[in-house]
């Protein structure tokens, strides 16, 4: 195997592959090293139950399709990815078997909300239209550029008088929770619960101060949820194909154990099998901050020519104590099914049976808040799972006449005092409780409908993908203090690190996890500046 490249990228998740593809297209020789047996990271699709049932183990919702520049720059669709945008994107079914539906079509959504509150329906229409108007602008500014500081943004919003122009955008939102935003603008508890649930599924907890500032943006793309036909892993293949077509190399089963530093500069990596690979221009880590700085680098050995330690104790201490992770994770049940759910709520709203992502039961902000409290105490809430039956819109993800189902429940990483390993004993029990909760809303869900099911716990997440520390699928807390140039630490906020030629480009970085492509895209911009690359992708 060739052992010298311009660029070494650690981790073949969607960020590593995206960065690899861009840099390969820029004419650099690139190798992406993946510890697992296949590329994809969170883009993982496996036949967990029976052959032919394709289960997306991590990423299921593709909400940045046609909003993220890499989708077109890297010609994702030409490499075989097909997206479908469900007609009924999302629903909430409440305990009284009423249902609120979010359609691809705004008017239908407004009609659905109006069944609960005509005032909220019109507020939603105004909010959506306003947010949808600036979603390109805000995404281009806040997600697909290296981050500005909150101070800079606040000043600009103030100078441009944005608060005076919009009832939904205000500087004060940086101090508010999504709950407060919803209480200020909406009246019906069920409507508020649905909108908060939508934020939570995107990783934005409704009770976290400051997250209100991101909420209008979430609403602006509330009907941009897509399924990757044939499984999310197809996207990983497409990114790899694009990189390979331009000379980039992916090596799987290539576990990096250390980053080699010489004269203050990252110059290569060492693999678990002893092979050393050198990098002429840079090394990029897309895995966790903890792996990168506590495992791959020995702070006592990383010294410059002058003998000074490059990773000062203060920085290492910050990595140990100040990296913030989500305080909740996801417990999943993957099902092979003979029937799709037939909801009691179909009597109220027939289209609920066509809904792709369904919130089962949260009918007020208080119910959500209560469950966050339970989870924060490392306890298991009574399940109110959310459901996605991809087969309703992707008939290729299960054999003819069958369905693939996914239940997800907000859950703690650790349980009680028994730690994360307690999940290994409790998963079966809790999985059954989640299915029981589903069957209360769709009585046909039971032995008649379910062929086989299996669970995937927060502990499983952390074991399978160690970069998702503590089962943190966002690879860093979503909080204002951990956003923009403060994520994951101020020293790393612009994708550079204390070590020359070592960059961070994974979901630990701004903006966050989810299939956004943005950490890689933004790191690319910084790397291109440092290496003097022509930014062909920035064609204005």
């Amino acid at each position: 195997m060739k052992t010298e490249f311009d660029v070494i990228i650690i981790g073949a998740g969607h960020n590593g592959l995206t960065l690899g593809a861009y840099l390969s297209r820029s004419g650099l020789s690139v190798v992406v090293l993946e510890a697992r047996h296949e590329e994809g990271g969170g883009l993982s699709t496996e036949e967990l139950t029976y052959p032919g049932f394709l289960h997306n183990i991590h990423a299921n919702y593709h909400t940045f399709v046609d909003l993220a520049p890499p989708v077109s720059d890297l010609k994702i669709r030409e490499h075989g990815v097909k997206y479908v945008k469900p007609e009924v994107q999302m629903a909430s079914i409440y305990d009284d078997n009423t249902a609120l539906l979010i359609y691809d079509d705004l008017d239908k959504t407004v009609d659905s909300i109006a069944r609960f509150s005509t005032k909220d329906a019109e507020t939603f229409r105004r909010l959506y239209k306003e947010a949808h108007g600036y979603v390109d602008l805000l995404l281009g500014t806040l997600m697909f550029e290296p981050p500005m500081s909150v101070k800079e943004l606040t000043k600009a919003l103030s100078v441009f008088g944005v608060s005076d122009r919009s009832e939904f955008l205000s500087v004060k939102l940086r101090r508010e929770t999504i709950n407060q935003f919803l209480d200020e603008h909406f009246e019906n508890p069920k409507v508020k619960a649905h909108l908060a649930f939508h934020g939570a599924v995107c990783g934005y907890g409704n009770n976290i101060p400051g997250l209100a500032i991101g909420f209008p943006l979430l609403i602006g793309k509330i009907n941009n949820w897509h399924i990757s036909i044939g499984g999310s892993h197809r996207l990983a293949h497409a990114l790899w194909r694009d990189m390979a077509n331009h000379g980039g190399i992916l090596v799987t089963d290539a576990e990096v154990v250390s980053i080699v530093v010489d004269n203050k500069k990252a110059v290569g990596v060492k693999l678990a099998d002893g092979v050393e690979i050198s990098a002429r221009k840079c090394v990029v880590s897309t895995v966790s901050v903890e792996q990168t700085f506590l495992e791959f680098l020995d702070k006592d050995k990383v010294v410059g020519n002058d003998g000074n330690k490059l990773l000062e104790n203060e920085f290492i201490q910050k990595v140990k104590t100040e990296i913030k992770h989500q305080s909740w994770s996801l417990f999943s049940v993957h099902l092979a099914m003979k029937q799709p759910p037939n909801y009691l709520a179909a009597e109220f709203a027939e289209d609920v049976n066509k809904a792709w992502v369904v919130n089962l039961g949260y009918g007020s902000l208080e119910e959500l808040n209560s469950d966050w409290d339970v989870i924060s105490k490392n306890s298991l809430p009574d399940p109110r799972p959310n459901v996605a039956v991809n087969s309703l819109y992707d008939p290729t993800d299960a054999p003819d006449g069958f369905y693939t189902g996914l239940l997800r429940q907000f859950a703690p990483y650790e349980i009680g005092n028994d730690g994360p390993a307690a999940w290994d004993k409790l998963s079966k029990y809790y999985g059954q409780k989640c299915i029981d909760a589903w069957s209360r809303f769709a009585p046909n869900i039971g032995e008649d409908a379910v062929l086989k099911w299996t669970t995937y716990s927060p502990h499983d997440i952390a074991v399978k993908l160690p970069n998702m520390v503590k089962g943190d699928w966002m690879m860093g807390q979503i909080a204002l203090s951990n956003m923009l140039d403060q994520r994951p630490l101020p020293e790393l906020g612009q994708y550079r690190t204390p070590i020359e030629s070592l960059y961070m480009a994974g979901s630990t970085q701004h903006p966050h996890g989810f299939i956004t492509f943005a950490p890689a895209y933004n790191a690319l911009s910084v790397i291109a500046d440092d290496l003097g690359l022509d930014k062909w992708w920035r064609e204005v």
């Binding site: 108007g133 600036y134 390109d136 602008l137 500005m148 943004l153 441009f160 122009r165 204005v540």
Partner: protein, 151 residues
């Protein structure tokens, strides 16, 4: 007073911007090359529906160095220029901004004028950008021979 989108009108816009810049204590940084793409919408009488008018503008430290109209169908002239920003919108929206009826920030926030380019640079210099926008939307006296918005 000049008819909108005429050479004379653009000259007045240029002068208005440069007059503002002459009074600025802190100048905007950098050189920007900007494309302005105006497409006919069947409402504005100044750009026919189905037609487009494209302009290139060069700004250096806030000062307008030059501008020129280019053929929107020609791939040559526009493509040779390395653009920093592209503003695109319907004629009626650009007309309304020039008439002071529509605020340019509202137009951008509402998605009526699409902006491409690194917005961080503009946001970091919000004070200066605001002054330049005011020059465009408030300091130019325009003749409206075919009618003034709102139409």
């Amino acid at each position: 007073m000049a008819d909108i989108y005429t050479q004379k009108w653009y000259e007045e816009v240029k002068n208005a911007i440069n007059n503002k810049v002459a009074d600025m204590k802190e100048l905007p940084e950098g050189k920007w090359q900007i494309a302005i793409e105006i497409f006919g919408d069947g409402i504005s009488p100044y750009v026919d529906q189905g037609n487009e008018r494209h302009f290139l503008v060069a700004i250096d430290q806030g000062k307008c160095l030059w501008y020129k109209e280019i053929d929107p169908n020609s791939k040559d002239e526009g493509d040779k220029v390395k653009l920093d920003y592209r503003f695109r919108g319907s004629a009626v929206k650009f007309d309304e901004i020039a008439a002071g009826v529509l605020d340019p920030i509202d137009a951008a926030l509402g998605g009526d004028i699409k902006v491409k380019g690194d917005m961080r640079f503009l946001l970091r210099q919000a004070d200066q950008v605001q002054i330049l926008l005011e020059a465009y939307s408030k300091d130019v006296k325009t003749d409206w021979p075919h009618g003034k918005p709102p139409y």
